[in-house]
């Protein structure tokens, strides 16, 4: 469903991705690990179309279409979902209002009638329950005053509501305690249906104890330098990235 070929991308004229290749089939979960500054988040942004991330070479085929030719909302409507590492606040716009518009935008794409407020509420209640968010979250402004953990759970709640075909989770585990981590992981696992695919970007093997990946890729210096199954993540956890002979000095996380 997704094929990334020799992808090169720049941010502010600095080359971050330097020939990345990756193929994902329906229903697969691919974990992307790697040292800081390797380009993990950049990959998520390039796939979702964020401005400022310029593709200089390569292409991405998503369900037989050229993904990089589409604008942001088109990609979203065709099923690309990004769970943000740092979800932004939209003061005064309730989660409910925001998600209802969003869900209905997706439904329109599939020539479905928009949901009424009551129909939406029913779905939203269910999604909230799955990530253990109280219902009053629907009334609060989007991410307004949410704790770090609440923001992450809110992202997963949105994912559940939007039913995307490709979910990109950008460090959805960062800053979470073990209980919250479990909640997020359960939310994600509930959406694994053999068709929906996942790219799980993470620093730590810990998340992968809960979301079991089919493949683990090590991204370093803009390329995938090693791929394997879940055991690769455990090896990294034990030995660090150094055993791959990588430079792990701190670089800005872009």
């Amino acid at each position: 469903m997704l094929k990334i070929n020799d992808l090169h991308a720049n941010v502010e004229n600095i080359t971050i991705l330097k020939g990345l290749n990756l193929e994902i089939k329906p229903g697969e979960v691919h974990a992307i690990m790697g040292p800081n500054g390797a380009g993990k988040s950049t990959l998520g942004y390039v796939l979702s179309g964020r401005e400022g991330y310029d593709v200089s070479a390569g292409n991405v085929i998503f369900n037989d279409e050229m993904l990089l030719d589409m604008d942001i909302e088109e990609r979203a409507k065709k099923g690309v979902f990004l769970a943000f590492q740092y979800p932004v606040e939209i003061p005064g716009v309730s989660n409910m209002e925001f998600m209802k518009e969003s869900v209905n935008a997706m439904r329109k794409q599939h020539s479905l009638e928009p949901l009424t407020a009551a129909e939406f509420l029913k779905k939203a209640k269910h999604a909230c329950a799955q990530v253990q968010l109280p219902l009053d979250f629907l009334k609060r402004g989007v991410n307004e005053g949410f704790s770090g953990g609440e923001k992450k759970r809110n992202e997963i709640m949105q994912m559940i509501l939007l039913e995307p075909s490709l979910c990109i989770l950008d460090e959805s585990d960062s800053g979470l305690d073990i209980d919250a981590l479990q909640v997020v992981a359960n939310g994600v696992n509930s959406q694994r249906d053999g068709k929906r695919s996942f790219i799980v970007i993470t620093h730590y093997q810990r998340l992968l104890d809960f979301i079991e990946p089919d493949y683990v890729h090590i991204l370093a210096n803009g390329k995938i330098v090693k791929s394997g199954d879940a055991t690769l993540a455990k090896e990294i956890e034990k030995q660090g990235y150094a055993f791959l002979g990588l430079d792990t000095s701190e670089e800005p996380n872009i």
Binding site: G49, G52, I72, E73, A76, E101, S102, A105, L162
Partner: protein
């Protein structure tokens, strides 16, 4: 991203059409004769003509104020016509059937049908077209409750004692340059009187329309709420799209006697001019209310139109325990300029005021909040809370805040909070990643920003205001 926002903001003004109506319009220019002719046309009593002439002579000695954060070339007051009336109104039509159908169509096009059976139930409308009131609906029903709602030109004849007592009592003739001009040449506007203990059974609404070219609109509104009464009043305004600037200089006076409450809401959508700042209404308005003991006046305004907005709806909190409120959304785009805010003058003990101002600037526009909170020497225990938020869209607009605080009483408490934020690329990216287009995203973010003010509007108006913002922000997205 900012280019897209620009496109989203590219302008669209739905009320910009011109109605082809035969009018009797004065030649341009202003002198004492013009004032005498206005007064004669309305068959006014001698005292009112004298009142006007006094204001005019005063105005001649005054200087146009230049302290506002506004840049415009001087207004040529001799290039304006001070009176225009649709011909069909000349012989005072007795019913709507005698009114020029084109006139009725104009209001219908604006979404304000004047036939009572088509109207929103629960809202009475006074429709003012250029210099005259066309019709006031539901008058009989209101009169049953003892409520008077009629054109001020008519009130001058029917209720001279009330008009004489209160006209100019809150905004004196010489209050400021534009108020003095209005006092000299005002043409029509609404008059509202709520008797003691009466809760006005419907929303009252005046709809102002400027149609004729080179014509200024100088309306005058006077609302008197007797003790223990309540009224909610709405005001809406539009004008055709024209290349030259047109002047609108209104005066609104509110009198809230002991324990009375007046809620005054405005949705101002005068023509704002084109993308390059050509044309548009110059809106110089003086609005002020006085609160007696335990009375409350609440101003809510949504300002999206006008090339220039100069407007400071204010409250004089004279009586003890009286309350003043000001809720404002001002949106400027293209080359619009707004200098707007309020004055809360605390004179009585334990008086309270709240100011919530939301300024949204886009394009090359400039949006200024200017507010005065004055705590008088006798205002023991008075309190004010001010929240002043600015939202910037794009990087070529300006937001400015000019708060003035004067406190002569050590027991008074004044709080001021201010924030400035931007519609950020991150916010837009989040919205688009969730499948929303840029247009929807911007309008949603802006509406969220204004929520605190919109919830103060009467229901029908809150919907209209939300839509108006959406239209103002509408455009093609590439």
């Amino acid at each position: 991203m900012s280019e897209q926002i620009e496109q989203v903001l590219s302008q669209k003004y739905d009320a910009g059409f011109v109605s082809d109506i035969e009018s009797e319009t004065f030649a341009v220019g202003l002198d004492e004769d013009v004032i005498k002719r206005i007064s004669a046309n309305k068959g006014e009593p001698e005292w009112l003509l004298e009142w006007r002439l006094h204001a005019y002579r005063n105005w001649l000695t005054m200087e146009e104020p230049d302290w506002a954060h506004l840049a415009y070339s001087k207004i040529d007051f001799q290039a304006i016509s001070y009176y225009s009336s649709p011909k069909s109104m000349k012989d005072k039509p007795k019913s709507l059937d005698e009114v020029d159908p084109e006139l009725l169509r104009t209001y219908e096009k604006l979404g304000i049908p004047l036939h009572e059976q088509q109207m929103l139930a629960g809202v009475a409308v006074d429709a003012v077209f250029d210099s005259v009131s066309v019709v006031t609906t539901f008058r009989e029903k209101l009169e049953e409750a003892g409520v008077i709602f009629c054109p001020i030109s008519e009130a001058v004849h029917r209720f001279p004692a009330l008009v004489k007592k209160y006209l100019g009592s809150v905004v004196p003739r010489g209050d400021n340059y534009f108020a003095a001009l209005n006092s000299a040449v005002f043409t029509d506007g609404s008059f509202v009187y709520i008797p003691k203990g009466v809760r006005c059974p419907m929303e009252l609404s005046t709809y102002f329309r400027i149609n004729e070219q080179n014509t200024g609109q100088f309306e005058r509104t006077l609302i008197i709420a007797e003790e223990q009464s309540y009224v909610s009043y709405l005001e809406g305004c539009t004008a055709p799209q024209r290349d030259e600037n047109q002047l609108h200089a209104a005066v609104v006076e509110l009198i809230a006697l002991d324990n009375a409450q007046i809620k005054y809401s405005t949705v101002q959508n005068w023509y704002p001019g084109d993308e390059n700042g050509k044309g548009g209404i110059y809106n110089f308005v003086t609005k002020r209310g006085i609160c007696h003991t335990n009375a409350k006046i609440s101003w809510t305004q949504v300002e999206t139109g006008s090339a220039i907005t100069w407007k400071y709806p204010s409250c004089i909190l004279k009586g003890d325990n009286s309350v003043g409120e000001f809720y404002s959304v001002a949106l400027t785009r293209a080359k619009q300029q707004a200098d707007t805010g309020t004055k809360m003058i605390h004179l009585g003990k334990n008086t309270k005021s709240t100011i919530i101002s939301k300024g949204i600037s886009a394009g090359n526009s400039n949006n200024a909040y200017r507010g005065l909170v004055h705590m008088g020497a006798k205002a023991d225990g008075a309190r004010n809370f001010t929240e002043c938020d600015s939202l910037l869209i794009g990087d070529r607009c300006g937001a400015h805040t000019f708060p003035y605080i004067e406190s002569r009483n050590p027991s008074a408490i004044v709080e001021h909070e201010a924030t400035t934020s931007k519609v950020s690329d991150e916010q837009l990216f989040l919205c688009k990643q969730r499948g929303l287009d840029a247009e929807k995203a911007v309008s949603m973010i802006v509406n969220g920003f204004c929520k605190e003010v919109f919830k103060e509007l009467p229901m029908e108006f809150a919907v209209e205001a939300g839509k108006l913002l959406e239209i103002s922000l509408e455009g093609s997205v590439g």
